[in-house]
């Protein structure tokens, strides 16, 4: 089992929430499918850990339902939910050996000792902990400890989902990569649903098949890393994903497109039609630094910018430019000629996004890419 469905879920830490700002989780519907590797990505304080604790049952949501395979589990305590959780700081039982740590959940379930033994040996082998089984958990390094706390989830054959709450925070960088691969390998081997909370986009995209980006207590986009990059549904996703994030410029509607300061950005007629009924003043133009086209020379229809400075990051360069008072970041390949003082750029139509009240105005809804069924 373990399709995890969140139905009209909302949570507030206050007993009598009055405004939407009192909610750590704003009403959301979401499904984590059985066997998926998911990441929950967002900045600190966006409600990721709250959501995770609600799924595991450590927190009881103020509104809505948590369903495991269609069964409501709101009132079921975490110990009966068949879920394991790995925390930011590795939790090991200091006074026990590694073996006893791994055996702990099984012994609590009153499993017979020889079954415990074979199961622990098996999982220790997967996690490469076999040599350490007799050591006291207290003397392990941070990554070994984190493996032990992961192992306590894996030993239980009844566990159908493992939740990770920023598990690599305290791990050395060179070991992060190893551990992440181990996770991925375990995921493939055990067919367990995994939800991985992080604020690191690289971590999210290397681990997960699909990423849910959280912002202000809501999941603002759920998609593959590529979708998040190429077509951010929400201005925050554009800004948060990518390095550097999307250029977002506040603009006004005008004839033929959108206007910021004295610069007109032309839009195609379809988009103009879509924008027609919109009354809000919160309109933004978004384009990723990678997709800004830089001309070698003056070109027709190109905007003239002042080059402020250039950062050389090895395989690519980031140029900071000023276009009519607005600062833009542009990312170009290392082989390209870097314009000095003046640059001529244009925004290719397919990569130019328009955000109204922070949400993407979508023109090519169905198109070729078949929307993955949620």
């Amino acid at each position: 089992m373990a399709e995890i469905r969140l139905k009209s879920l909302a949570h507030s830490y206050k007993s009598k929430p009055t405004s939407p700002n009192d909610y750590a989780i704003r009403e959301m519907n979401h499904v984590w499918h059985q066997g998926g590797a998911y990441a929950l990505l967002g900045p600190s304080g966006c409600g990721k850990s709250t959501l995770l604790n609600i799924i595991s049952g450590l927190l009881s949501p103020s509104n809505g339902e948590v369903l495991f395979d269609g069964k409501k589990v709101n009132d079921i305590p975490p110990e009966e939910r068949n879920i394991a959780q790995v925390f930011q700081f590795p939790v090991v039982y200091d006074s026990m050996t590694v073996f006893d740590n791994l055996a702990f959940p099984l012994r609590n379930m009153k499993m017979s000792e020889d079954k415990v033994h074979s199961r622990v040996i098996e999982i220790a082998a997967v996690l490469e902990l076999s040599d350490l089984l007799k050591n006291k958990a207290k003397n392990l390094t941070a990554d070994e400890k984190q493996k032990v706390s992961m192992g306590r989830g894996l030993v239980r054959s009844d566990v159908s989902a493992i939740l990770f709450d920023e598990p690599l925070t305290v791990i050395d960088p060179h070991l992060k990569w190893k551990l992440r691969r181990k996770l991925k390998q375990i995921h493939e081997q055990f067919n367990i649903t995994m939800v991985y909370v992080t604020h690191d986009q690289l971590e999210a995209s290397t681990f997960a098949d699909k990423i849910a980006v959280m912002y202000g207590g809501q999941i603002v986009q759920f998609g593959t890393p590529r979708e998040l990059f190429e077509k951010p549904n929400h201005a925050f996703v554009g800004y948060f994903i990518g390095s550097p994030g999307m250029n977002l410029i506040k603009a006004k509607k005008c004839k033929g497109g959108l206007m910021f300061n004295n610069t007109l950005v032309q839009l195609n007629p379809e988009m103009q039609v879509l924008l027609d009924p919109i009354t809000t003043s919160n309109i933004k133009i978004g384009i990723r630094p990678e997709f800004v086209h830089v001309w070698d020379d003056k070109a027709e229809g190109a905007f003239e910018c002042d080059v402020l400075h250039t950062e050389d990051l090895g395989t690519y360069k980031i140029i900071t430019m000023k276009l009519d008072g607005e600062v833009l970041k542009v990312r170009i390949h290392e082989d390209r000629i870097v314009p000095t003082k003046k640059a001529y750029i244009s925004f290719p139509e397919q990569w130019l996004k328009v955000y109204v009240d922070e949400y993407l105005v979508d023109i090519d809804e169905p198109e070729d890419e078949v929307k993955e069924t949620i």
């Binding site: 604790n53 595991s56 450590l58 305590p77 975490p78 110990e79 879920i83 394991a84 959780q85 925390f87 930011q88 700081f89 939790v91 039982y93 200091d94 006074s95 026990m96 702990f104 959940p105 609590n108 379930m109 007799k134 050591n135 006291k136 003397n139 706390s149 306590r152 989830g153």
Partner: protein, 289 residues
Amino acid sequence: MQRKVRDNKAWFLVLPVFILVAFSAIVPIMTVVNYSVQDIFDQNTAYFVGAEWYREMLRNPALLDSLGRQFFFSFSVLAIEVPLGILIALVMPTKGRMAAVSLILVAIPLLIPWNVVGTIWQIFSRADIGLFGYAVNAVGIDYNYTSDPTAAWLTVLLMDVWHWTPLIALLCYSGLRAIPEAFYQAARIDRASKWAIFRHIQLPRLKSVLVIGVLLRFMDSFMIYTEPFVLTGGGPGNSTTFLSQALTQMAIGQFDIGPAAAFSLIYYLIVLLVCYAFFTAINQLDKAK
């Protein structure tokens, strides 16, 4: 160019500490050592007697009795106060106004001067007018700490437990608060029982505060003087005369300064030795894989 400075001026910086330690510890102890090897008749007449007082003291039945009593008392106190203190710390509320209220209530006995504690229990336990003593007698138990050694013992123990269990409780309480929430959450997910949580999470993490607590309580109870002195005066008979009191009687009551000095040094060494042994044992346990 830097000139190499060679002087010993730094010693001046350490000097105040030297003087302080000398006057607070070394000089008084050496005075006692000096007394312990002499037989003093008056200011001008003193004879060197070597280890004679030490030999005599180790054969003195009254002092040996007190020493035995003292050990028994200290171990009883630890055996009661440590588990009880842990238990109180575990049930104390952690959040809200009740947490503050309970902290204050628990801390009150610690704030009372020792001789006042003795006086309180002296009156509280009296069979004729004391609330506690009268109540115990009223339910049909014959209880009079001034005439019955067992009752006197129990009263002294009870007083110490009342006075000092809060110390253990507060130390453990702070130790418990330092355990991150994630440990309890992980334990819930691992389906740990309450006992398993205590045994594998709380107790191991209380170890360092408990070491301090046990050491403090051992030293303090081993040197107890004021409270039983006020409560029972060491009686009935000598049944609650502990070492400090016996020594004080010998030194000040009988002016046997030489033997008293010898025994106080023995006393001092015992405290030092027990603490050292305990501390070493704990550290060894820690290192064991």
